[in-house]
């Protein structure tokens, strides 16, 4: 019976429930889209890993090969390959070489990798071609000697080359012109480019003669694990043997590392669901309030409390299921769109290979959508159960609005506790801290939402103070209507609050970071120009010579980068002529000096204090070439953007087989347009090198921050759209409730325009209330975050007044947009039927 009632009720309010479901749909769509997208990425990664690691039983490589947080990777000497050959059970062991190699297309630019690339996997890769290996020859023949190479079909096509052509390939620190003697089938490499040489050439160009990146072997029947053990027994100490399965899994994980995008998207998806829950809570509260009499009648004729609340929860469940279904469909579309966007452009080589809609994604979408809906409807359902049967007979059942003292206490405790959790999270680090930040923010939102019915009266009074004067009676009525049901107004505004709070946070943070970066560049850009690869990873030696001989350039300071383990801690370092290099960034030392000699290093302040390293401390350095050396801390410097340690050029070169200039700091005799033009002309052959003066460098740095702020704001727009649906929903229900009142207004002479204006102004007031709360919270969050990040160099706090004011204006616009439909309905209302409305 109650089931039938639930179904009837659903059928009776189809449109309203669809609107409610819409707020679930958007959130779920985002969740589903993200999951499907990551599943698809993962499927592609597994596919590639399966093909590239096929037949590998055991791989020999440096212990802790170069991951992002792991140690430095050392090469595998040729002698190891000989030893592995003698291990019983191995079949066809080969030495593998890989490194950076980028094909330069006919127009002089590097052929870039396509699509979104993952850190930790070379996007423009070079290697040694192994007959019968992962890359079958499609046309041409195998490369022999220093002048020949193979490239993959897609890359050759994009570079404009065919078999037999000569092409330039850019390597670490140098370029070579070689003949393309054949093409390999690329298959799906997720957009990476590939250049292959014979083994000695690859060793010389990419690594070091006599070294391999890894040694791989198949098995003649022995299990991977057994063979691994046998191989490991013949290895020197800094090498390890791993099974092919592990190699494939690692490659798969590295390739799928793009799922960090998924993690980010998932955060926004959950925010959207959270906001959607606000809207659902509010809608169900209103529906219950409107159906008080009906529900009381049910109670009067014998329905139990449980039955009544189950009926409401049942409706919520149905809405959740419908919303989740639609969301799943929309999410699939979204994932497809996301792939197209990430694959950028129609020329995309790695074909879009179908979406993977896994059972998990489907289950998660339904779970999120349904649980959020039912949870949000739980309180209204309980409220429905508490309606006394006598309410069926009474005319006016005022919904309880009291208990404001308890409300203030609860709200303050929630918000305060949330604030503390947030601050504690910001102070810490790691996953727990991140979770604490998220939880804290959520509690602050809930707390403020609990408080906001108390706040809504005075705040709206203030916001709408001028309305009666500017907009006449509609203005006065709008303000009073917005104040009429504080809980409803608060819940409606609350949804908007969440989105705008996060937008506010991001904007405060973005502006502060911009200002911090700007002031850092102002303080540290002591030279006149900076030359840096926009794409690719080093400045060609030839380009360095050209720059140095450019008229007007007085001094050229090359800098280098690399990885080193200092006492077991992996550190990214900068290297070069330290006195000039440090002068070019207007350094000031915290301790010690620049006189490093041959074995001295400079260490960044935070790193030094974290490990209690002092001037004079001797550390063991382990380099990627396998070399170890004792080094001495000669000086400690504050963070200047050269990594966490600085090495003298000699030390870098001693341990780097293929030294490559990372950037050039230039001092000009006169830094004018003529010099800049001359510099541009010198580097005309290197379109992938960027030339920056101080302001251009600042623009470059700030631009990326602007982009980030913009993208996050865009992602948050979704939750704001959901909130707008909530505003529309509230107004539509309010208009329905106030039918007679609107009829009366029309009878005593209000025209349609005035009625519409009244509704619109109410929407604006509610939206502005949400905006004020949200932006204040956002301001708080932003300031807290900036403080937490001050140690990372973001030490300038900027409150971007104009963007924040724009947000408030935007909120008003959202209010107007949300009011369009309810206002039109109110305006269209027939006077006579409205008056007669029960």
């Amino acid at each position: 019976m109650m089931l039938r009632l639930t179904l009837r009720s659903l059928a009776a309010h189809r449109l309203r429930l669809l609107l409610t479901a819409l707020s679930v749909v958007l959130g779920v769509a985002f969740v589903a889209g993200t999951l499907i997208f990551t599943d698809t990425m993962d499927g592609q990664a597994a596919d590639i890993a399966g093909r590239l690691g096929r037949g590998v039983a055991v791989e020999v490589r440096a212990k802790d090969p170069g991951g992002r947080t792991r140690g430095v990777s050392v090469p595998v000497p040729e002698a190891v390959l000989r030893d592995v050959r003698r291990v019983p059970g191995v079949r066809g062991p080969v030495g593998v070489v890989s490194g950076y190699a980028a094909l330069v297309s006919r127009d002089g630019t590097e052929v870039a990798a396509q699509g979104a690339q993952t850190p930790g996997v070379l996007a423009q890769a070079g290697g040694n071609w192994i007959p019968g290996g992962d890359y079958p020859l499609k046309t041409g023949r195998a490369p022999h000697g220093p002048g020949e190479m193979l490239v993959d079909e897609a890359t050759a096509g994009r570079g404009g080359y065919r078999t037999g052509d000569e092409a330039t390939v850019r390597l670490k620190g140098a370029s070579r012109t070689m003949r393309i003697v054949g093409l390999v089938g690329s298959g799906d490499l997720a957009g990476r480019t590939l250049a292959l040489f014979d083994t000695p050439t690859a060793q010389r160009l990419l690594l070091r003669p006599g070294d391999f990146t890894a040694v791989r072997t198949a098995s003649d029947g022995v299990s991977e694990e057994v063979l691994r053990g046998r191989v490991a027994a013949v290895l020197p100490g800094d090498l390890e043997a791993v099974t092919g399965t592990q190699v494939r899994n690692e490659l798969r994980n590295d390739l799928a590392a793009l799922s960090y995008v998924g993690g980010l998207l998932m955060a926004f998806a959950l925010i959207a669901v959270f906001v959607g829950a606000f809207v659902i809570f509010n809608t169900f509260s209103m529906l219950v309030a409107q159906r008080t009499k009906e529900l009381a009648l049910l109670r009067a004729i014998g329905a139990s409390r449980g039955q009544v609340s189950r009926a409401v929860v049942g409706e919520a469940f149905a809405v959740g299921v419908v919303g989740s279904t639609l969301g799943l469909v929309a999410g699939t579309g979204m994932a497809a769109l996301l792939q197209v966007i990430l694959d950028e452009g129609p020329t995309s080589g790695p074909a879009f290979s179908g979406l993977a809609v896994s059972g998990t994604a489907v289950a998660a979408s339904y779970a999120v959508g349904t649980v959020a809906t039912v949870a949000a409807a739980y309180v209204p359902a309980r409220r429905a159960a508490r309606i006394p049967p006598i309410a069926a007979l009474r005319d006016d059942v005022a919904s309880p609005q009291g208990a404001s003292k308890r409300r203030v206490v609860t709200g303050t405790v929630l918000a305060g506790g949330g604030g503390l959790a947030l601050l504690a999270g910001l102070a810490g680090s790691g996953l727990t801290a991140q979770a604490l930040v998220g939880l804290g923010a959520m509690l602050v939102f809930l707390g403020v939402t609990v408080l906001s019915p108390v706040l809504s009266g005075p705040v709206i009074e203030l916001l709408g103070r001028g309305l009666p004067r500017w907009c006449g009676t509609p203005g006065l009525l709008a303000r009073r209507n917005a104040q009429r049901s504080p809980r409803r107004t608060a819940a409606t505004a609350g949804a908007l609050m969440v989105g705008l709070a996060l937008v506010g946070t991001v904007n405060v943070l973005g502006a502060s970071m911009k200002a911090s970066v700007g002031s850092q560049i102002d303080a540290s850009f002591a030279d006149d120009y900076l030359v840096l690869p926009v794409r690719g990873n080093s400045v060609d030696a030839d380009a360095v010579t050209r720059v140095a001989s450019t008229p007007g350039i007085a001094r050229t300071t090359p800098s280098y980068t690399g990885d080193v383990e200092l006492d077991g801690t992996r550190v990214e370092y900068g290297a070069g002529n330290l006195p000039t290099l440090m002068a070019s960034v207007a350094h000031r030392m915290v301790d010690g000096g620049l006189d490093t000699g041959t074995d001295g290093v400079l260490v960044e302040d935070d790193l030094a204090s974290a490990h209690h390293w002092k001037v004079g401390t001797v550390l063991t350095a382990r380099f990627p070439d396998g070399g170890r050396q004792e080094v001495r801390v000669a000086g400690i410097y504050p963070l200047v953007g050269f990594g966490n340690a600085m090495l003298p050029e000699s030390l870098y070169k001693a341990h780097t087989p293929l030294p490559a200039v990372h950037a050039l700091n230039l001092k000009a005799t006169t830094a004018d347009a003529a010099t800049l033009t001359a510099l541009r002309r010198s580097l005309a052959a290197y379109p992938d090198l960027g030339i920056y003066d101080r302001s251009a460098w600042k623009r470059e740095k700030v631009q990326s921050l602007d982009q980030m702020t913009g993208q996050i704001t865009l992602l948050l727009a979704l939750s704001i759209v959901i909130a707008a649906i909530g505003v529309a929903n509230t107004l539509a229900l309010s208009v329905f409730e106030r039918t007679r009142e609107i009829g009366l207004l029309r009878a005593v002479g209000a025209d349609r325009g005035q009625v519409r204006r009244m509704i619109r102004l109410e929407a604006i007031l509610i939206a502005l209330f949400g905006a004020v709360l949200g932006l204040l919270i956002g301001l708080g969050f932003g300031i807290a975050l900036q403080h937490a990040m001050a140690g990372l160099g973001f030490d300038v706090l900027v409150v971007p007044a104009v963007p924040l004011a724009l947000c408030a204006v935007l909120a008003g616009v959202i209010g107007v947009a949300a009011a369009v439909w309810p206002a039109r309905r109110a305006g269209r209302m027939d006077v006579l039927t409205a008056i007669a409305h029960e």
Binding site: G472, T473, L476, L477, R480, N481, Q483, R484, R740, E741, L744, L745, R746, A747, V748, G749, A750, D751, R752, Q754, V831, L832, I835
Partner: protein, 240 residues
């Protein structure tokens, strides 16, 4: 002041067709309280709604002063209601978010007109609620609410006030207060009022009573008393 000629209004079609007004001719005299009486279904409310421009007639003409209103567009009708017509409904007369005073001046405020100095004070005095002006409707009794509604109807100095069962929801004492007030408006301000009622006592306050039955004006009575009205109604019952 207001008149209707050959006014027709039907609802529904076929079997369910109901003739609410059947070629009704009425003339409302200025400065009088006219009561429209009749059993339920007689068309009295429809007549009032058509006269007041709230409902569109199917045929015939309605004049308010020298304006023929059946041809007016919605915005013109709105302006007409705002400037020349006052309303008192049976219930739900007041906007709950506005105070008594704000409700009284609502038509003027909506029209953006400034009240004539002294007029509002006179109206409020007449209504006798000067101490409750800051109260919201929820804080007023039913009778007080109806008196505020009367004041609201008078505030814009309309040509004509339509009252639809203004005492229908009140006890007899509160009802008498409201009726006294309406009588007083006619006598001291010369206000024209049309009142729909089915209560003979209410009708006895009128200068003239029009009796409706089956969509026609079947009788009229000048200088009515409650007894005569009641008797007339009984007779009407008998003839049917």
């Amino acid at each position: 002041m207001a008149r209707a000629t050959a006014l027709c209004k039907t609802y529904g079609v076929g079997e369910a067709r109901v003739v609410a007004l059947d070629r009704v001719d009425v003339a409302i005299r200025a400065g009088e309280l006219t009561a429209i009486m009749g059993p339920s279904g007689s068309g009295k409310s429809t007549l009032m709604h058509c006269l007041a421009g709230l409902d569109a007639a199917d045929g015939g003409e309605v004049w308010i002063g020298d304006t023929e209103i059946t041809a007016l567009r919605d915005d013109e009708l709105t302006r007409l209601r705002r400037d020349r017509i006052g309303f008192v409904f049976q219930a739900f007369n007041l906007v709950p978010t506005l105070t008594a005073l704000e409700n009284i001046t609502l038509p003027l405020d909506i029209a953006g007109r400034t009240p004539e100095p002294g007029w509002i004070t006179r109206v409020i005095d007449a209504v006798g609620l000067s101490d409750r002006l800051r109260h919201r409707p929820g804080e007023l009794s039913g009778g007080q609410q109806q008196r505020v509604a009367c004041a609201r109807a008078l505030a814009a100095r309309p040509r004509i006030v339509f009252a639809d069962e203004p005492t229908g929801n009140l006890d007899s004492r509160a009802g008498a207060e409201v009726l006294d007030l309406m009588r007083q408006c006619v006598d001291s301000f010369g206000q024209t009022i049309v009142m729909v009622t089915h209560d003979p006592v209410a009708a006895s306050y009128a200068d003239r009573v029009l009796f409706l039955a089956d969509g026609r004006v079947v009788d009229e009575m000048t200088g009515p008393t409650a007894e005569r009205v009641l008797e007339r109604m009984k007779r009407a019952e008998g003839t049917r």
